[in-house]
């Protein structure tokens, strides 16, 4: 006992000034900074966030990255397998090059056979001139990051039924497949905020009605309804209009989850002391909503929105795969997979299945980032 009474607390003689010491206590950093700090601690989420950033950064430069234009066909190379890029020819380093294909028709199986001619290395060209395009619809140019060798071909991921370069088409597909998720989520986000906000703000009968509506929409299996809705898109619409139609369809059925989150948060936050305090201090409803309520649940909403993007990307892929989604010449990963619909593709031309790789990576990335955001969304917990 005597030991306890004798022990003294250590007191730091320096004055208490948290800001100078660098480790600011949680109370004084802004909520968004705390969220960012917590998110950055989630290594996997950060890594995948960088992957996503990279993919989205590619979108404006699609034409430049793809060695071929998206409609470019090469009738001599139908269903050509992927061409490997080599560095060393006969023990000598000569930089990246490909071996040319020699194709001949096998008259027994009526399939084209491709043999690699390992005697003639064809070096790749970089920052070179190839198919022309209008960059961002403004500048006409023909600059490409990498081009097929002079008089040769460059089919990194093989070609399809019409002899179109699969790699270039996957690169082009990035644009549509990645934007469709974002636009769809923007639509469902707006609807979710609107319905959830109305339900949470007015309460009572309105709330009950919106709740029933949410339950009904949630209980309908998505895909059959997507099918029905996309079957309803007029056949004479241009591919671009169809693209918007499909986006709206994907967004229309996704809002109930978000609306529910908004409503729940609004109802819970309304009872909080700080809201009452703000009210007593004479804050207007607009200030109350904009300054105190929305910032409080926005982080949650962004997290749930991130988690619902994969559903849309997969939805587009499924619809296009079935031939009810986007129509050529619009190129998306789903449209590309449409060619891999039969078993012949799996057996004979497995590279036609490759567009599934970017789908997988993107969906995984959105899931990880969404999970990371969700964990970080409530920094005070």
């Amino acid at each position: 006992m005597s030991g306890l009474t004798e022990s003294r607390h250590f007191v730091d003689p320096a004055p208490f000034a948290p800001d100078e010491r660098g480790d600011t206590p949680a109370g004084s950093a802004s909520a968004w900074r705390l969220i960012a700090r917590k998110f950055l601690r989630h290594r996997l989420a950060v890594a995948f966030a960088l992957v996503l950033l990279f993919l989205y950064a590619l979108i404006p430069f699609v034409e430049m990255i793809a060695p071929y234009g998206q409609a470019r066909r090469d009738g001599d190379f139908l269903y050509a397998p992927p061409q490997g890029v080599h560095m060393i020819h006969e023990g000598r380093f000569i930089g990246p090059f490909v071996y040319p294909y020699r194709s001949h028709l096998d008259l027994d199986t009526f399939r084209r056979d491709y043999r690699t001619d390992t005697g003639r290395p064809q070096p790749l060209r970089f920052l070179c001139r190839s198919d022309g395009y209008d960059w961002l619809g403004l500048v006409h140019t023909d600059l490409h990051l990498v081009c097929p060798p002079e008089g040769g071909t460059l089919f990194l991921l093989g070609t399809d039924r019409l002899g179109r370069d699969q790699f270039s088409r996957i690169v082009y597909g990035t644009r549509v497949s990645l934007t469709i998720g974002l636009v769809g989520v923007a639509i469902s986000f707006t609807l979710g905020l609107l319905f959830g906000g109305i339900a949470g703000y007015f309460g009572g009968v309105t709330d009950a009605a919106v709740q029933r509506l949410i339950e009904i929409v949630r209980s309908i299996p998505e895909l059959p309804l997507w099918l029905a809705l996309s079957a309803a898109l007029p056949a004479n619409w241009s591919p671009l209009l169809v693209f918007f139609g499909i986006t709206v369809i994907l967004g229309l059925l996704d809002w109930p989850g978000l609306a529910r989150a908004v409503r729940g948060k609004l109802l819970a936050l309304r009872e909080e002391d700080f809201v009452q305090a703000a009210e007593l201090m004479g804050a207007s409803p607009a200030r109350l909503i904009g300054r105190h309520l929305i910032p409080n649940f926005m982080s949650h909403l962004i997290a749930s929105a991130t988690l619902s993007i994969p559903t849309m990307i997969l939805g587009e892929t499924a619809l296009s795969f079935l031939g009810l989604g986007l129509r050529p010449p619009v190129t998306s990963w789903g449209v590309l997979l449409n060619q891999a619909q039969n078993l012949a593709a799996v057996q004979l031309y497995p590279w036609l299945l490759l567009p599934v790789v970017p789908v997988l990576v993107t969906v995984l990335a959105f899931n990880f980032v969404g999970d990371g955001l969700r964990d970080a969304a409530d920094p005070y917990n």
Partner: protein, 338 residues
């Protein structure tokens, strides 16, 4: 309890009614209908007698009336040209494409759809529960990491592609016939032992593919629930007073963590049914999936409408069952307070 079950049934009926309106509206969205298209086609080829028949059908099914009247007739809330005869009276309408009653066209497909979905639900639970328990009790081990990674991949792989690839290998390695739910040679046989065996073998691929996404989601959620429960004081108490580890896990925390799990069937079912439609299309299973796509493409409205209603009803009944299970599992839950 009984009053509450009845109340739930009434809510479900109302929900179904609203869904039916939605479904009918969506199906009527594209301009024209099967018969008018057909009549134009017949006129072009000059077959007058068929035109007369199609016009008869139009009158018989009230397709010349306003859309809302058509809807009420279809549901059976308004007398049509042949009196009250709609979904409520058990008349599922006429398939113009097949020129047969819808009931005859869908036939076996209905219960095969049910079978595929029920198998998938059972599969999800059989796999997800042990995997989640293992993953939660062996946190930060390699096994846990494997389960987590598989879970994420399961969420990301598009089902239709997986179906294609598995179908290919099931054929190559196990000699299963491509597509279908039983060997093609058995199509016209009654349901005897051999056909049932064939059915069981063919169910494996669809079940795996349909269940995969749901399993992944379930494992993740249940693992999180179980981890929450394991951290609570009552678990510590149970262990401290000397309960064997298995009992200390299964008796309390496991039961608690099952709650959100069962409640989650409401989320799971629509996804499974969606997935089963897609996978059925790829694997050409004799379920309602391929029929739905075909009828939507041909504007075979009564057939498409009936199948959509069937799929929605399947989901709703499944949710009702899950709610009832929840009450049985956790007596604290009061129905009707939601």
């Amino acid at each position: 309890m009984i009053v509450q079950v009845l109340r739930r049934l009434v809510t479900m009926a109302v929900t179904l009614l609203i869904i039916s309106a939605l479904v009918f509206f969506v199906i009527k969205l594209p301009p024209g209908d099967y018969l008018t298209n057909r009549i134009m086609e017949l006129r072009a080829t000059g077959e007058a007698s068929s035109v007369a028949k199609a016009e008869l059908l139009i009158r018989q099914y009230g397709l010349d009336r306003p859309v809302w009247e058509q809807y009420l007739i279809w549901v059976g809330l308004m007398p049509g040209p042949v009196g009250f005869s709609g979904l409520l009276q058990g008349d599922w309408g006429w398939s113009f494409e097949y020129d047969k009653p819808v009931a005859d066209v869908v036939g076996d497909a209905l219960w095969l759809t049910l079978l595929v979905n029920v198998t998938a639900v059972i599969f999800v639970h059989l796999v997800a529960i042990p995997a989640a328990i293992y993953s939660a009790t062996h946190r930060h081990t390699i096994g846990d990491a494997v389960v987590t990674v598989l879970g994420y991949v399961g969420l990301a792989v598009p089902g239709f592609l997986l179906a294609l690839i598995m179908l290919f290998y099931a054929n190559r390695w196990f000699g299963l016939s491509i597509g279908g739910l039983y060997d093609a040679s058995l199509t016209n046989r009654p349901w005897d032992g051999e056909k049932l065996r064939s059915l069981a073998a063919h169910l494996v691929v669809p079940t795996l593919v349909i269940g995969l996404g749901g399993t992944a989601a379930m494992i993740r959620r249940m693992r999180a629930n179980l981890l929450d429960e394991l951290a609570k004081p009552y678990t510590v108490t149970a262990r401290a007073k000397g309960l064997p580890p298995t009992r200390a896990l299964l008796k309390y925390p496991f039961r608690m963590s099952l709650n959100p799990f069962v409640a989650d069937i409401g989320n799971l079912l629509p996804h499974l049914v969606s997935g089963s439609v897609l996978v059925s299309l790829v694997l050409s299973l004799p379920t309602v999936g391929p029929l739905l796509l075909e009828s939507l493409r041909n504007q075979d409205q009564f057939m498409a409408g009936f199948i959509l209603m069937f799929v929605a009803a399947l989901t709703l009944v499944g949710m009702l069952i899950s709610d009832l299970t929840l009450v049985w599992l956790d007596p604290r839950i009061r129905m009707g307070q939601r």
